[in-house]
Amino acid sequence: MRLLKTGLVIGALAGALLSNPAVARAAIGVVFVHGTGDQSPSSALNSYWTQGGIDSMRNGEPYLVVGYPGATCAGFSQCSWGPIVDQITSWMNANSITSFTVITHSNGSSPVRYLLGHTGAVSANGNSVANVVNRISQVIFEAPDLAGTPLANQVTTSGSFLNIANAIVEFFGGGSYNNPAVVQQRTDNMSVYNSNGTFAGGYGATVVGGKPISVVRGNKVYANLFSSDAHCAGYLYTIGLKAAALLGWGSFGASTDGFIGTESSGYFGHIIIDDSRLNHNQSRRGCHNEGSNVTKQVQAATVPPPTQQTFPPETAMPSAALACNAYASAYATDYITNHTVWHYGCNSAWLTDGYLDPDCLIAYGSDSGYAIPSTASWNPYINSAYFPGWTQTCPDSWQGDGICDACLVAKYGFDATTGSTGSNDCVQAAPGGYNWCGDLAYDYTYGLTNYAVVQALH
């Protein structure tokens, strides 16, 4: 379990394997291009897509996750598509890739549309767009922003945009959402780019730049609090996108995945997935059988029409608080450090004492007027100061690792791997059994609060 916590090591190893030409000699592959946000290849893999999301879609093929300045550079800028070309060129050469599928999410469609339309361009490092585009076999746009989003108009016009949830801001590249990529995504600007040839692909087209285009999109935000479908990929994102949908910012009065209206995501391309339980966040994580269908598309197998697609039944999400005895205060032993720790717990009186008690958030869902899930600044579980013994502060890679992490519950409302069949760390053990639980606790050896892993007996 300790090793499972060191996601960075695993990620670095995977990166090394992928970049080693002696290891990977495949001729075909899959390239993943993220949406708005400045990402490095590793942050794009670990934070934007997640390994689980990638693996659910790539059909076992060699893959490349590119990272590029997708917020500070608009999709048509050389500083945006240039690094994509450079990274793909290196990967193709190192791995003798002769053809590959491109999968994009959100505004990742824009730099790829630029490449498809301007094959004579070259990157700042001198790599030819044509050499890359020549080897593209197909493009799968996931939740593409093909005609802009009213959210972009909203944030740039009103000059204000309070966090609906951090999730929403993340899709605009973090806190600095008034950036070139967001301005590019204004609906009026996209109308110009779609008209003047900046971005390839006209309304209704199914082939762009000689490449077949498939579109995966959601058309509703499903936010049943106790549904696995809603929890897939993070309930916080779901409620944030639900709020955006309710507020009409993700396409007022039209169907939307919470961020991109279907009039934008369906501007062109073959729509292979059109799902009412696939919000903007979930479409990059293979939720609700998306991974299976994208895999079929990657392998050129038949994808059932959207109206004939089937989904695994949704399941109820059990209470993490019960699994981890979050109500109870007690001494315990930290499995990681073997130190004695004090498990804070929460009694009902603490709910109204004016202090924000971490375990009260978990046990009761709220404390001092604040509710979970939340990544807001008041959430102690995302404060790195409370993780002195750890190199990471509650990364998503802790999902599904066998430890019910209170920090993930506070962030997302659950701790489980993506997909409704993914493992759920917070299923309460049977009487006589136990759960492993990660939680903030007072470490008597260190003399401070640390994130401890303790055994919760039942």
Binding site: I28, S77, Q78, S99, G117, H118, T119, G120, A121, V122, S123, G126, S128, I136, S137, T157, S158, G159, S160, F161, L162, N163, I164, A165, V169, G175, P180, V183, D188, N189, S191, V192, Y193, N194, S195, N196, G197, T198, G202, G204, A205, T206, V207, G209, G210, P212, A223, N224, I239, K242, A243, L246, L247, F252, H270, A300, Y370, A371, A376, S377
Partner: protein, 477 residues
């Protein structure tokens, strides 16, 4: 930047025809492929100055010089690409400048303000929305700020409590869903008005916390007859060309008085300058060209227009914006011609080629694109192949050749007299469109039969996908 007028004299036009049949050394690689023979076909060369412009066309009247920008990397070498196309979707003319409609406004209370009251003219309360949006990105502070904001109707009564309840039921009609949505910590206040609520000027009382935090108040009035409409006169403007944005207020609205404020935002979305608005006949125009010069940044600009006034003794306030391209062209298409077939050893057509003459005033990497179209029995034009050629061109005239792959055309099983369509010149140095002729000067290739076409040189994975998807099969839906 110096300006060079495009000559329109008969002498130059004649010279251009000559150039259209020749090639300069810089583009020699764009010529015929080794091992092929050219079949002399029609050698007509059509000058772009004779072009009949259609919807969405862009044609510069002047060319400008442009120095390379520091750090600008353009690359060198000619790149000629041929792509297959799906005939399934008929060709469309480029999208015309769209008219954007607005029955809304946004009013700002800047951060750091003192407590204040904001007048909110609401001429059509039925189905109206009012949103209070705290500024900044501190959600905790925003929630606190919203508690100090109230809405009062024209009679001075609290209107926000009932309107908030209306909003809840409107946004989520399903009770179970509404309960679930109730857990959403709402970062903004959503208020929904109805037909029973008063028409007139509402008052938003902005308390100390909200005024200090800053507040944007958004109002949407979907049932108001007063609709701000904005329509650019073209999708793209060039310096020196008359260009404007037409402003309308809805045909059903009786407007007693109106004032406009129009502000241009540059491609970085920074407010750049005010634009005069004048009445021309029965419409208003924001005279954009009067404030543009060739020194301005190229790219996509936005015009934000606020209209305030009185209609039937009722004040109104509307805010909207639109976008358009601004380019300072350094090149143009001069002529197109010499459509011809190139044949392989077996006499089959391997390439359909056409020459395009470009005049450049500045070193840049220029891209020429075109689509080959067949006319099907349903009288629709359908794409059968695409071609693009790109090269770094110095000032002067150059001939580039669009080369369509006959093998790609053969996949569509369409023959006949193909037309050149969607001809355009794009600058990769500035990422702007300089010249577009959707009808491609109506250049047509001689008639051919499908049997005349060579088979594809290679069935690429992309073509395999297209075949599997039925992209070349017009007999299936």
């Amino acid at each position: 930047m110096t300006i060079r007028r495009i000559a329109t004299s008969a002498g130059l036009a004649l010279a251009l025809v000559t150039v259209g049949c020749a090639r300069d050394n810089s583009t020699a690689t764009a010529g015929s492929s080794p091992g092929t023979t050219q079949t002399p076909q029609e050698t007509a060369v059509v000058n772009t100055e004779n072009a009949q412009l259609v919807q969405g066309d862009v044609a510069p009247t002047r060319l400008f010089r442009r120095p390379l920008q520091p750090g600008e990397v353009q690359g060198s070498g000619l790149v000629s690409v041929a792509n297959p196309a799906s005939p399934k979707v008929p060709l469309r003319l480029p999208t015309p400048p769209e008219t954007r409609h607005f029955k809304e406004t946004v009013i700002h209370v800047p951060a750091g303000s003192a407590p204040t009251e904001v007048q909110l003219p609401i001429d059509a309360p039925n189905e109206a929305w009012v949103m209070f949006i705290p500024k900044g990105n501190d959600a905790q502070r925003g929630e606190t700020a919203l508690r100090s904001v109230t809405l009062r109707d024209p009679l001075g009564r609290r209107a926000d409590v009932e309107a908030a309840r209306e909003a809840q039921s409107k946004l989520e009609p399903d009770q179970a869903e509404r309960l679930a949505a109730g857990r959403i910590s709402r970062p903004i206040t959503m208020l929904h008005l109805n037909n029973n609520m008063a028409r007139g000027t509402y008052a938003v009382q902005v308390g100390r916390e909200a005024a200090a935090t800053g507040l944007a108040i958004e109002v949407r009035l979907p049932n108001s007859p007063i609709e701000l409409n904005l329509t650019p006169s073209a999708m793209q403007f060039f310096p020196g060309q008359d260009s404007w944005v037409t402003i309308g207020l809805g045909e059903g609205a009786r407007i007693d008085r109106v004032d406009f404020t129009a502000v241009l935002y540059d491609p970085s979305f920074r407010a750049a300058r005010r634009v005069p608005v004048v009445r021309v006949g029965n419409e208003y125009r924001a005279l954009v060209s009067s404030v543009f010069t060739e020194q301005d940044a190229v790219g996509t600009w936005n015009l934000e227009v606020r209209a305030t006034g009185v209609s039937g003794n009722q004040r109104f306030d509307r805010l909207g914006s639109t976008a358009f391209g601004f380019a300072v062209p350094t090149a143009r298409l001069v002529s197109v011609g010499h459509p011809r077939f190139e044949r392989g050893p077996e006499g089959k057509i391997t390439t359909l080629a056409v020459d395009v003459v470009v005049e450049s005033e500045a070193l840049d990497r220029y891209e020429i694109s075109g689509t080959l179209a067949a006319t099907t029995p349903d009288s629709l034009e359908r794409p059968v192949a695409e071609a693009q050629v790109t090269d770094l061109l110095a000032p002067g005239q150059h001939t580039l050749t669009l080369r369509f792959d006959a093998g790609h055309v053969s996949l569509t099983k369409l023959g006949g007299r193909f037309a050149l369509r969607g001809l355009q010149l794009f600058s990769l140095g500035t990422n702007t469109l300089y010249h577009r002729l959707a009808k491609g000067l109506d250049i047509r290739f001689p008639a051919l039969r499908v049997a005349d076409l060579a088979a594809p040189r290679e069935i690429t994975p992309a073509i395999e996908h297209m075949m599997r998807a039925g992209e070349f099969d017009l007999t299936t839906p």
